[in-house]
Symmetry: C2
Subunit: 517 residues, 2 copies
């Protein structure tokens, strides 16, 4: 029979192991030699590193996968060649307990490797990957509601560490929870600089071996995805885009397919990954016809065992991808006309994120020069219609460091107001908002509901009283929200059903209505 002291020693031993693991890295790095001791937090990454052949082209020649087994569940994941004879299999466990694995490879030296690890409960800030919830909304895998309030820094990972670290610092204060970011470097107005890393072996401008990936590029990308994960930010990874001078948007279909398989193999185990198949895919249609885009989605879907969210972003407002296709998990849209929110919702029957309802800024291009007030206004309209919107900032500055492209610091006025709205959504009932109605009232004023809860946004309307969209058969209280000044003023009384609600008669107000038992 064990004494208390023995218990203490045992616990100390476990504690030591845990500390060692934590010290190695945030994502558990383990060697093949000590699988039994390895513990990985649920939804973190178990990484198996194996040595194999370097000759020939291991990217093309070697097939590698792992089967991960827990009870009667079996999950197959692909591995990938990194560099210098190192092969890696990454796995994101989604259930606590013992997981065992066995590898399978076309190479004997990588085949039949066995081991196991223990999956422990997740730490408080780890809620798992984001999933679709309640048809039009999102939640983390642990059930915590997730309301996407994202921003855009397309090429932030291609700016060098100094600026990239500054971007991360900014994101610590500006609590956006999603970042739209490109894999490939960007060639566009305000972003002509060469990147630090290129995804393929070869040299700029266009001398690439599309069959050999640059491990430094991908490790850097992964580091930035992990950095975002630490900050609670989903990485909305844009797999293709047209702003290119290196030929990455012009690869042949086979190279595209191989690239998609490689990047999804490397990144799928990161819980905060979303797949955005392209930015402005329609500007690439001449080279990549629609059938190819569909095939891309099949590859991503089939190679990602965790079914991370998948969507695709249009350029022309009349060229939305057909988001009813089964591989699309949620709708991404670029459209300034936010009063169409309900139409998109009804058309696609999926969550809608209007990533680009134009950006706060002052550059000459009309997509990048709306006022802070206007983008806040558009966020409120999208949100109260049961949809979501995305932020970006495009102010001219002497250094030509515009947040929307390079990151850096935020200089605008909208981001605080957008995050004020995020807090209001997080304070609301879980499950997201459903548009209150389709009548003439609700095409002009925006309102969402959830049970007895209502969030009604008046925008350019300034009524001195309101009597639409109140909950039925319930007493309720009202908060008046100033969306610009970020104040919430509770009204000092309780209403009955048919009572008119007096209001201040100012624009850009919202009201929050909550039922009282």
């Amino acid at each position: 029979m064990k004494t208390t002291l023995e218990h203490f020693k045992l616990n100390r031993s476990i504690l030591k192991h845990i500390l060692v693991i934590l010290l190695i890295s945030v994502t558990a790095q383990i060697s093949d030699a000590q699988p039994n001791q390895t513990t990985v937090e649920k939804w973190d990454i178990f990484e198996l590193s194996l040595n194999g052949p370097q000759e020939g082209n291991p990217f093309l020649d070697v097939a590698l996968s792992g089967r991960f087994i827990r009870g009667d569940r079996v999950i197959e994941v692909n591995g990938f060649y990194d560099s210098n004879g190192k092969y890696i299999i990454r796995f994101m466990p989604d259930a606590v307990g013992k997981w065992s694995y066995v590898t399978k490879s076309s190479e004997n030296s990588l085949n039949g490797k066995k081991g196991s690890f223990r999956c422990k409960i997740s730490s408080p800030n780890n809620h798992g990957p984001v999933r679709i919830s309640n048809q039009y909304h999102f939640a983390y895998a642990d059930g915590t509601p997730y309301y996407p309030f994202g921003t855009t820094c397309y090429a932030w990972i291609h700016q060098g560490n100094k600026l990239e670290e500054q971007t991360l610092e900014t994101l610590k204060t500006a609590s956006f929870n999603k970042m739209r970011m490109c894999v490939f470097p960007k060639n566009y107005s305000y972003n002509k600089n060469e990147p630090q890393y290129y995804p393929f072996e070869g040299s700029a401008p266009k001398d690439w071996d599309f069959t050999r990936y640059n491990p430094a590029f991908f490790r850097h990308l992964e580091k930035r995805v992990a950095d975002l994960c630490k900050l609670g930010i989903e990485a909305d990874i844009i797999l293709f885009h047209p702003y290119d001078r290196w030929g990455f948007s012009e690869m042949d279909a086979e190279s595209d397919y191989r690239y998609l398989k490689y990047i999804t193999t490397r990144l799928s185990a990161y819980r905060n990954v979303w797949w955005s198949m392209a930015n402005e895919y329609d500007f690439l249609l001449r080279r990549k016809p629609m059938s190819q885009w569909d095939r891309f989605f099949e590859i991503v879907r089939d190679n990602d065992p965790y079914s991370h969210l998948r969507s695709i972003h249009n350029g022309d407002v009349n060229k939305n991808y057909d988001h009813t296709k089964p591989w699309i998990t949620h709708v991404c849209i670029q459209n300034w006309d936010v009063k169409q929110a309900k139409e998109w919702r009804n058309k696609y029957k999926k969550p809608v994120i209007n990533d680009e309802c134009e950006y706060e800024g002052n550059i000459p291009m009309p997509w990048g020069n709306i006022t802070a007030r206007e983008i806040v206004h558009r966020f409120w309209i999208m949100t109260t219609n049961g949809c979501y919107a995305g932020h970006g900032e495009t102010y001219e500055n002497p250094e030509q460091i515009l947040w929307w492209s390079k990151g850096g610091t935020l200089v605008g006025e909208s981001w605080k107001r957008i995050l004020f709205l995020k807090r209001i959504m997080e304070e609301g009932p879980p499950g997201g908002l459903t548009p209150i109605g389709n009548s003439w009232v609700w095409s002009r004023v925006s309102g969402g509901m959830n049970g007895d809860y209502r969030l009604i946004y008046f925008g350019e309307h300034q009524p001195v009283a309101w009597f639409y969209g109140k909950p039925k058969n319930v007493r309720f209280k009202v908060d008046v929200i100033d969306t610009w000044n970020m104040t919430i003023t509770p009204q000092d009384r309780i209403y009955e059903n048919n009572e008119e609600i007096p209001l201040p008669g100012k624009p850009y107000l919202a009201i929050r209505i909550r039922g009282v038992k």
Copy 2:
């Protein structure tokens, strides 16, 4: 041979006759006995008053018309029974010179009356009726461009003289050039008062003889139409509307047809008349099916020898009348979503007036509570897209006198800014604006052109520079217009084609570009 003195006597005699005529009324009233002396200004009214039978129901029993002849032109106009045995034929001459006439009637006492009058040139403020010009625009009959900048006081003629005179006083300062106004009294929120006059013989609430018209009602209506004419305001006369407690919206089809014939007979000779078949006709569709509306238009068209402008106004934004129908001269729309302006233009290929892009005000109904800034914004968007918009004001006040319904005074902030835009249009080249383009730029920013002239409105956009939509192959100058503060600031230089135009980076600005030879 006449002496100078005799000449003088003759001239005095003519002068005396003219003075007598002027004293009788503003519109020339003449007796059958002295046709040769009568002179009428072009586009004013020649009115022939005849005595006839009073027995039976003269409204139903007596047919009366007049043929007006000048050279080889013959115009047939209907006459109407007024009251007390008085029958009237009104005629609006459109050409200078001698016009002769002969009457035709089912009654001998009214038949075959002959006479003539002289039509003289119009006075400086009389430009004739408004016509379609340049497909999407308007001009007076004398060719002067007419840019509709109208307002709405639906029931202003039913408020009693004191308030009605106040409305006219307000209109002297607020130089709107069109007024939307109902024939029938109105029963709606903020307008429950009984009118002074009813259009039919009988008594309120619903005891009417729809075969007998009340001359006092029509004389009052005509007086108000003439009052507007004196102020240079087109009377956009709404022939039916659904806001009713007297049964005027529920007459049978025959009564409707008879009413339309009667009112168009009485009013067609007023040069400032426009026919708006209904306000929110779709709310009356249950009682009056579409075939009946089409028939209404045929009656108005066939009974109005001057072809005054004809349109019809929807309620539901999805229930626009089919404005491609041939009797529709211009498109009237009620729609808050002004960024559809180009779509309406392209769909109907006729001038577009968005009469109700919501009203400045603060009442609970969302159509009546947008900010002054917002309605000014919407006017600029409609106008720079080569369309037009309408004003209205709906501020709560203790007396419940809301401009949009009763008239009175203007208390808002938009009307001055709207009339500032009107002045800018009047300063521009004649012929109206054509949208600059349909590209992604011009769905976000609004711009209209006419030759080398451009009027570009940025609205919620605040670029620090601009390079879209400049005239080609021409040097040009730029004025920066602050649409809210009503300032026009010329830029102190001349531009070449490809130069970027620096701008202040503030919202709600416009620029005016004019070619320099």
